[in-house]
C-alpha cells in the first residue's frame, strides 16, 4: 500500500514541478489582487492596516480557488484516471495525495508570500505569525472543497467551483480573519485556531469520500 502511495505521490510531485503554471499562476494572481486593494481603497496606512487580515485572506482564498478547480481534469483528459480505476486500488490514497500535492504547490507559496503583506498593507508585524498560522490552518479546508468542486464538475467548465467553494469556506474565512483581529485587540486567538483545526479534521474524511463518490460518477 505505501509503495503505491509513494509512487502516486512521486508522480504527482514531478508532474506539478514540471508544469510551472501550477505554482506560478496562484503567486502572480495573489500579488496582483493584493496590489489592487491599496489602489482601489486608500493608501493611508491606518486604513490598510485595519483591513490587511481580511484582504490577505480573501486573496489567498481566491488564488487557491483558481488553481484547485482543475485538480482532476488533467488526469481525466489524458486517461490516467481510467487506468487508475482499472487497477482497482484505493481511490482514497489518490484523492488525498492529489489534494496534498496541489496544496503544497498552490497554497504553500502564497502563505509564505503573504508575509510581504506586512510591508504592502502595513499589517502590524507582531500579528504576522498569527496570520500565517491562520492561513496554514485554513487553506487545507479550502483545498478540500476545491477538490470536491473539481471532482463534481470533472471536465465540464461550470460556475460550480466558486459557487461551491466560497460559501463552504465562509467559516474558515471568518475564523481566520477574526483570529488576527482579536489578536490585535489583545485577546488570545487560540479559540479560532482550535475551531479551524476541528473543522478540518471533521471535514477531511467526509469530503474525501464525497470526492471519491463524485469521481466514480463520471464512470457510470
Amino acid at each position: 500500500m505505501t509503495n503505491l502511495a509513494k509512487r502516486i505521490f512521486y508522480k504527482e510531485f514531478v508532474s506539478y514541478r514540471k508544469r510551472s503554471s501550477t505554482y506560478l499562476s496562484p503567486i502572480v494572481f495573489f500579488l496582483i489582487t493584493i496590489a489592487l486593494y491599496p489602489l482601489a481603497l486608500s493608501n493611508d496606512p491606518a486604513d490598510l492596516s485595519f483591513l490587511a487580515p481580511g484582504i490577505t485572506w480573501i486573496c489567498v482564498l481566491l488564488s487557491t480557488l483558481l488553481s484547485i478547480q482543475n485538480i482532476f481534469n488533467e488526469d481525466f483528459e489524458d486517461g490516467s484516471l481510467d487506468i487508475f480505476f482499472s487497477l482497482r486500488v484505493s481511490t482514497l490514497t489518490l484523492v488525498i495525495l492529489k489534494i496534498l500535492v496541489n496544496w503544497i504547490f498552490s497554497s504553500l507559496p502564497i502563505i509564505i508570500l503573504s508575509s510581504t503583506v506586512v510591508f504592502l498593507l502595513f499589517l502590524p508585524s507582531e500579528s504576522l505569525v498569527i496570520l500565517l498560522t491562520s492561513l496554514l490552518l485554513g487553506t487545507p479546508v479550502i483545498s478540500l472543497f476545491g477538490a470536491l468542486a473539481g471532482a463534481l464538475s470533472l471536465g465540464k467548465s461550470s460556475i460550480l467551483g466558486p459557487a461551491i467553494v466560497l460559501p463552504l469556506s465562509l467559516p474558515v474565512l471568518i475564523l481566520g480573519t477574526s483570529a488576527v483581529t482579536s489578536f490585535l485587540n489583545g485577546e488570545n486567538p487560540s479559540f479560532y485556531f482550535l475551531m479551524m483545526l476541528a473543522i478540518f479534521i471533521f471535514l477531511l474524511p467526509l469530503i474525501c469520500y464525497a470526492c471519491i463518490g463524485a469521481l466514480r460518477l463520471h464512470y457510470e
Binding site: L152, K156, S158, L160, A163, I164, P167, P171, I174, A210
Partner: protein, 248 residues
C-alpha cells in the same frame, strides 16, 4: 407486526415507482390546490389587511406574514432534500433524484423571497436596503447553495449521474450549513452593529399570531403543491419514451 412492516415496505417500494407516483399525484393535486389556495389567501389577507397595527413598527411589520413563512419553508425544503439525498445515494432511488431536482428551484425562489422581504422590511427600520446581520447572511448562503445545486444538475447530460452528483452536493451542504450558521453568528457578535434586534419582533399578540400560523401552513401546502407538479413534469421529461407514459 410483520404484516404492518410488509405493507410499509410495499408502500416504500411503490413510492419509488414513477407510474404509481404519477397517478397518485394526479388525484391529490386538485385537493391540494384548493386547500393551499384557501389557507394561503386566508392567512395573508387576514394578516396583511385585518390584523391590528403594531404600536412600535406601524403597518410595515405585516411583511412578517410573507417573510417568516418563506424563511421557514426555505430551511425545511433543504432538510427534505437532504433526506432525499441520503435515500438517493444509499438505495439509488430514481424518485429521490427527481425530488431533489424539482425541489431545488422552489427552494431557491422561496429563499429569494425571504431575502427580498427581509431587506424590504429592513429598509424603513434601519434606513438601508441591506444589513449584514446573521440571519440574512445565512439565508444568502442558503440561496447560493440552491443555485449551486441547480447549476450542478444542469452541467450533467446523463440523468443518473446528475442525481448522484446533486445528492453528494446536497449532503455536503447539509453538513456544512450549521457550521456556516454558527460562524456567521460568531462573526455577527464580533462586529455587532449598533442596531435593534431585527428578528425577534416584540411580543406578538394573539390576533397577529393566528394569521401567521395559517399563512405558514398555506406556504407549506403551496410548496408541496408546486413540488408535486414539478416532479410530474420531471417524470414526464425523463420517461417520455417509456411505455407506461406513452399510453397513459
Amino acid at each position: 407486526m410483520n404484516r404492518a412492516f410488509n405493507s410499509l415496505k410495499t408502500f416504500y417500494h411503490k413510492l419509488g415507482s414513477s407510474p404509481w407516483f404519477y397517478r397518485i399525484s394526479e388525484i391529490t393535486i386538485p385537493y391540494l390546490a384548493l386547500f393551499s389556495f384557501l389557507f394561503l389567501s386566508i392567512g395573508i389577507v387576514w394578516g396583511v389587511f385585518f390584523s391590528p397595527t403594531d404600536f412600535k413598527q406601524g403597518d410595515v411589520y405585516r411583511i412578517i406574514y410573507m417573510h417568516v413563512p418563506a424563511a421557514s419553508v426555505s430551511q425545511s425544503i433543504y432538510y427534505t432534500m437532504t433526506v432525499a439525498a441520503v435515500v438517493s445515494i444509499i438505495w439509488r432511488m430514481k424518485m429521490a433524484g427527481i425530488f431533489i431536482k424539482s425541489m431545488a428551484p422552489i427552494g431557491a425562489s422561496f429563499t429569494f423571497l425571504a431575502l427580498i422581504s427581509g431587506s424590504i422590511w429592513g429598509q424603513p427600520t434601519w434606513g438601508t436596503w441591506w444589513i449584514w446581520d446573521a440571519r440574512l447572511t445565512s439565508t444568502l448562503v442558503l440561496f447560493i447553495f440552491y443555485i449551486a445545486i441547480i447549476s450542478l444538475y444542469s452541467s450533467f447530460s446523463e440523468k443518473k449521474s446528475a442525481d448522484q452528483a446533486v445528492s453528494i452536493l446536497t449532503l455536503v451542504g447539509a453538513v456544512n450549513l450549521p457550521i456556516i450558521k454558527k460562524s456567521v453568528d460568531w462573526w455577527n457578535t464580533l462586529h455587532q452593529p449598533a442596531s435593534i434586534k431585527f428578528t425577534e419582533s416584540s411580543s406578538i399578540s394573539p390576533e397577529m399570531l393566528y394569521p401567521l400560523i395559517i399563512s405558514i401552513f398555506g406556504f407549506y401546502l403551496v410548496v408541496l403543491l408546486s413540488g408535486l407538479m414539478a416532479m410530474r413534469a420531471e417524470i414526464a421529461k425523463r420517461e417520455i419514451n417509456k411505455e407506461w407514459f406513452k399510453n397513459y
